[in-house]
């Protein structure tokens, strides 16, 4: 097995809520609450989940874009949270991020060349004399013409702007790229182009991806392993075949069954699990299993006891689910209430 590149242990990210007469911290948004996982060199690990599950917050906390409340982040054997600001800035060369909205993350007054030059200059990886050649090379790499480098971001379409975002991330030869909903805003036909590009770049430059997305179709196509999050906690983790073909956690099952498939034959036959209610607020998350308020299998035990991630006998190695009743549900001895 390839070596561990990123090791996240018990990561916590709480955002304080100020209130009262004196503006004290009256409560916390527990956006991420004790998340543990590893990413190996050269693989793509996806974090999926719905809004408010903490997937983007996890990505930001790893990069220390928001300072995490607790836990460890080890990158390439080094404790990222122990670095001072200057060391962290240097380290960012190895960890790049691509955002959902490429337009918002590129300065609209800079040409693409200036954007890329700035990235190269900050990390100082390429000598000044070679930068022009490097920029031309980068543009070609992401499927844009070198002659387009002197244009401004608004002169590009959404898909092309995302390519620019990728070029900027690539410019410093990173080891890990965190892609935060990187293809979510794109139309299907353009999305496919960008996904293909990302996969090709991974092969060519042996990149490692942490791919954050709500789109399970994209995730299945791009990932090796998948992490499913719900309300700040990991509910299931495993290789992609396990997660998609043999989901164990009731939430993962519901999530997968909720996605409409572009095939009316499957759609009419499919038994859809429709979860009731909304995702509870992360300010006062439910005690016990956080999913119990919506779970068709929940019992009194789920209301008090927090389930740990575990691998039961019928599950593949490395496939873990955080539910008290994985075995019973699999065996059919624990019935759904609806």
């Amino acid at each position: 097995m390839a070596k561990e590149l990123l090791k996240v242990t018990d990561l916590k990210q709480y955002f304080p809520i100020k209130g009262g007469m004196l503006g004290r911290t009256v409560n916390n948004v527990q956006a991420v609450d004790g998340v543990t996982f590893t990413v190996h060199e050269g693989e793509t690990v996806s974090i999926v989940g719905e809004s408010g599950c903490g997937k983007s917050t996890t990505g930001r906390a790893i990069l220390r874009l928001d300072e995490p409340t607790g836990g460890q982040v080890e990158f390439d054997g080094e404790d990222l949270l122990a670095l001072n600001n200057r060391q962290m800035r240097k380290k960012r060369k190895d960890l790049q991020i691509i955002f959902q909205d490429p337009y918002a993350s590129i300065n609209p007054r800079q040409t693409v060349r200036q954007v890329l030059e700035e990235a190269l200059e900050i990390q100082n990886v390429v000598p000044k004399a070679e930068r022009a050649a490097k920029i031309a090379e980068l543009m070609e790499t992401v499927g844009l013409g070198a002659h387009q480098a002197d244009r401004f971001p608004h002169e590009f379409s959404g898909g092309q702007r995302q390519r620019i975002g990728i070029a900027r991330a690539l410019s410093v030869d990173p080891k890990l790229i965190i892609a935060d909903e990187a293809v979510s805003a794109l139309d299907v036909s353009i999305q496919a182009q960008v996904i293909n590009l990302m996969k090709k770049l991974q092969r060519d430059f042996s990149l490692t991806y942490l791919f954050i997305s709500h789109d399970l179709g994209v995730v299945r196509h791009i990932s090796d392993r998948v992490i499913v999050m719900y309300l700040g906690k990991i509910v299931e983790i495993g290789d992609k075949t396990s997660i998609f073909d043999n989901p164990q956690h009731p939430y993962t099952k519901a999530l997968l069954s909720a996605i409409p498939v572009p095939d009316p034959d499957i759609e009419t036959k499919k038994e859809r699990i429709i979860l009731q209610g909304d995702v509870p607020s992360p300010i006062n998350p439910p005690a016990g299993c956080r999913f119990h308020t919506r779970c068709p299998f929940a019992t009194d035990r789920c209301k008090t006891e927090v389930p740990e991630l575990r691998t039961e006998e019928h599950m593949k190695e490395g496939h873990q689910g955080a539910c008290h009743y994985i075995k019973e549900i699999q065996a059919g001895t624990h019935e759904a209430k609806y």
Partner: protein, 344 residues
Amino acid sequence: MVKPTDILKEEPILEVRNLQTSFFTEKFEVKAVDGVNFAVPKGKTLGIVGESGSGKSITSLSILRLIQNPGKIIGGEILFKGENLLDKSEAQMRRVRGNEISMIFQEPMTSLNPVYTVGQQISESYRIHQNIGKKEAMLRSIDMLKLVGIPSPEQRVKQYPHELSGGMRQRVMIAMALACDPELLIADEPTTALDVTIQAQILELMKELQQRLGMSIVMITHDLGVVAETCDYVAVMYMGKVVEYAKVADLFKNPKHPYTVGLLNSLPRHDIDLGDEELTVIKGSVPSPDNMPKGCRFAPRCPFASEICVEQLPDLEQSEDGNQIRCWIYTDEWDGDPEVKVNG
């Protein structure tokens, strides 16, 4: 030329013929909707699917004549129960909106007025169209909220939109739209802004209400999965034109237009593993509207495009299975690779 009603088994409640809506900038005219034809069957659902810039949302706004300056409907007919909506006066049109034809929108977060309560906003529909008192309207609003599955509706009517979740707001939008028992509901990307488990709830609710109330639905979406799940017929739009118009089962089993085929192929699916295979892509991107291709709008991106495609715009024609398609490949004039024609 074919009629849009030809493919329906049911009576049409709405028929759109050669609809043209343009936006006028100082330099040029953007033909957002460029001769669109389709029909909506009574009690069933028509899907209009397309990517951004296809004109699907403008089409839906045109039906209710809600196009604002600098946009303008410049031609065509919108026949609702046999009457052309484009001939109606503004006052007559207002009696149609929210009463006979209702609409819900993509962004439940911003589509409700932040300074009025949910109850006030639903009541307004009753008060406009049914001329009833405040109290009675509020009681009916509570009933509507119950109908769309909102718990403790007596309290909810007094709340403001920001106090509700996205899913709840979309339920409120649906309650508001269905208040006056419309015959046609236009849903413009109703679940795009919602999480997938909430989307499942809302789509289920819409299907259930359709069965109960018998209304027809136009479902505007970019999501082919949503089409497969909810629609009976579907019109695929590209650059302001319908390129394929078919029964849903046929479209997914046997897509004909190269754009539809490309769209289906480029969609990564969670239930199919491609392994290390690349996604099949549609090359290039949608041309900018000031640079509209003169022949088939899809020709610059089409893998099969031949000379005639670049030169001349094909018509929407009937294919063998009774569906309609706008593509030279399926005509006698096809001058490209004969293999393509046979294989479709």
